[in-house]
């Protein structure tokens, strides 16, 4: 099902949501420590993994992302006491819905990373990128989304 030319391997695009306190700082830490990871992940900073609206995930997939990463503080370490558990509940329900929509649940990853875990963050991202590369492109049919192209002009 690969639509990308054989010449270069498929490079997945991954949208990552990080919380302001732990995982985003973990990413910062990976940077400050000059750790290296695959350039396929593009991060969006939220204040807390609890802010993660399922709409964001659907939007990312519909918009052409091959996978989505959700990351927050370790359970018990949430800077808002326990909001990451709420993210966990949504995550588990979302996986089920995505599966029914034909999006392999492996394309949605939940990662707990503390501000000190730049190394873990790096490793996990690399693993995830490999995992998604193995799954191949998602190619969500976005033609339908550029609807306005097809639309007829309304009379003045």
């Amino acid at each position: 099902m690969t639509d990308t030319p054989e010449t270069k391997p498929f490079e997945p695009t991954i949208i990552g949501f990080t919380c302001n306190w732990c995982s985003y700082r973990a990413a910062d830490m990976a940077g400050t420590a000059r750790m290296k990871y695959a350039p396929n992940v593009r991060l969006i900073r939220l204040m807390c993994s609890g802010r993660l609206d399922p709409t964001f995930v659907l939007k990312a997939f519909a918009g052409g992302a091959d996978a989505v990463l959700i990351s927050g503080c370790h359970p018990g370490d949430c800077h808002y006491i326990n909001q990451n558990y709420k993210a966990l509940r949504r995550f588990l329900l979302m996986k089920r819905v995505l599966a029914q929509m034909g999006i392999q649940p492996e394309r949605l990853k939940l990662l707990w990373a503390s501000a000190a875990e730049g190394a873990i963050f790096t490793r996990e991202i690399n693993e995830f990128v490999e995992q998604v590369r193995a799954l191949g492109p998602l190619n969500w049919n976005t033609t339908a989304i550029e609807v306005h192209a097809e639309k007829e002009e309304v009379p003045a």
Binding site: V57, L88, R89, L93, R96
Partner: protein, 326 residues
């Protein structure tokens, strides 16, 4: 001077919308008084060529119901769009796909197979309809199915949306009044793109049931639950879509003890209806333990079906992967 022209058309839909319109009782006379009905296949005989013959924008008000299932639907949608000043996506099918939109879960081939080769179908040679068939008299053609069902606004530009499966008659009546008043310069039409004939909040807003903070340890199906008639259904573990479904129906279902199934679609400004339900239902789960949470979630049989029953075609994802591949 001649009366403003009125049209109503059904694409992929069940006809319930037409009945709902007739259900406005004597108000239908006002419609007749105020409008000249030029095109309404269910109610009167009319030919496409009559419409084609009209001036662009000649029809003042077009209530279009049904989704875009085949090329004929799309053709007429585009035609009526051209001929109409006000194009209203009328009813859940036109607005968000509705039940016909559920087809977007499966590849179109499977659907056809189900339709033409299930035990209930007498089709020994296992024939499939051809889009065109030549006979001595000439070729007969029938419309080609789209791989995915689309909503009206995915094909043409829509002025107003009127949700509901079908829209509540009292809402239709209200809208009719409004349009008539507007035509006589006695009222302002709402801004283009607005949802009319419905509220901005959700069903809970109109629901009379008592409600507290919701902490669910188990989801149950309504047919297996002895529900408290006074208390919020979701609070009792019954997956009621009322929390996310647009108000306007006076909480018809919950008020008679049935869970809301979401025919009025998302509330004002919501991007994806299902996402709201995912968030809402996940939020009432009373557990932090992944294993237990999964156990609780097992109580929601077919979550996608539950969340996108009326909204799949209008949702962000629009159709399952297999349906997209056709």
């Amino acid at each position: 001077m001649s009366k403003p022209k009125f049209a109503m058309y059904w694409a992929a839909s069940c006809g319930g919308c037409e009945i709902a319109v007739l259900n406005i009782h004597e108000k239908i006379l006002d419609v007749d008084a105020a409008f000249e009905v030029v095109f309404w296949p269910v109610a009167m005989d009319a030919k496409y060529k009559d419409v084609e013959a009209m001036q662009d924008g000649e029809i003042t008000l077009c209530l279009f119901n049904g989704g875009m299932r085949n090329d004929e639907n799309e053709h007429i949608a585009k035609l009526l769009r051209r001929k109409s000043k006000i194009m209203v996506a009328f009813g859940s099918c036109a607005c968000e796909g509705c039940i016909p939109g559920l087809a977007n879960f499966r590849p179109i081939k499977e659907l056809v197979d189900t339709a033409f080769s299930t035990i209930s179908t007498d089709n020994p040679e296992n024939i499939r309809p051809q889009t065109s068939y030549s006979m001595p008299e000439g070729a007969i053609t029938i419309p080609t199915l789209n791989p995915m069902l689309k909503t009206l606004d995915q094909v043409v530009d829509v002025d107003y949306y009127m949700p509901g499966c079908p829209p509540e008659s009292h809402q239709i009546a209200a809208v009719v009044d409004l349009v008539i008043a507007a035509l006589n310069g006695k009222a302002e039409l709402p801004p283009k793109g607005a949802t009319i004939g419905a509220g901005n909040s959700t069903v809970c807003d109109e629901c009379q049931r008592k409600r507290n903070v919701k902490l669910i340890k188990e989801f149950g199906r309504i047919q297996f639950t002895e529900a408290d008639p006074e208390l919020c259904l979701l609070e009792q573990g019954i997956p009621c879509n009322g929390i996310a479904t647009r108000s306007g129906c006076n909480a018809r279902c919950p008020s008679v003890g049935a869970q809301c199934i979401g025919c009025y679609g998302p509330a004002e400004g919501v991007v994806d209806y299902g996402a709201r339900l995912i968030a809402g239902f996940a939020s009432v789960i009373d557990s932090d333990d992944p294993v237990e949470i999964d156990k609780i979630l097992d109580g929601l049989v077919d979550p996608a079906g539950q969340f996108y029953r009326f909204n799949l075609a209008g949702s962000l994802l629009r159709a399952s992967k297999s349906a997209q591949k056709g």
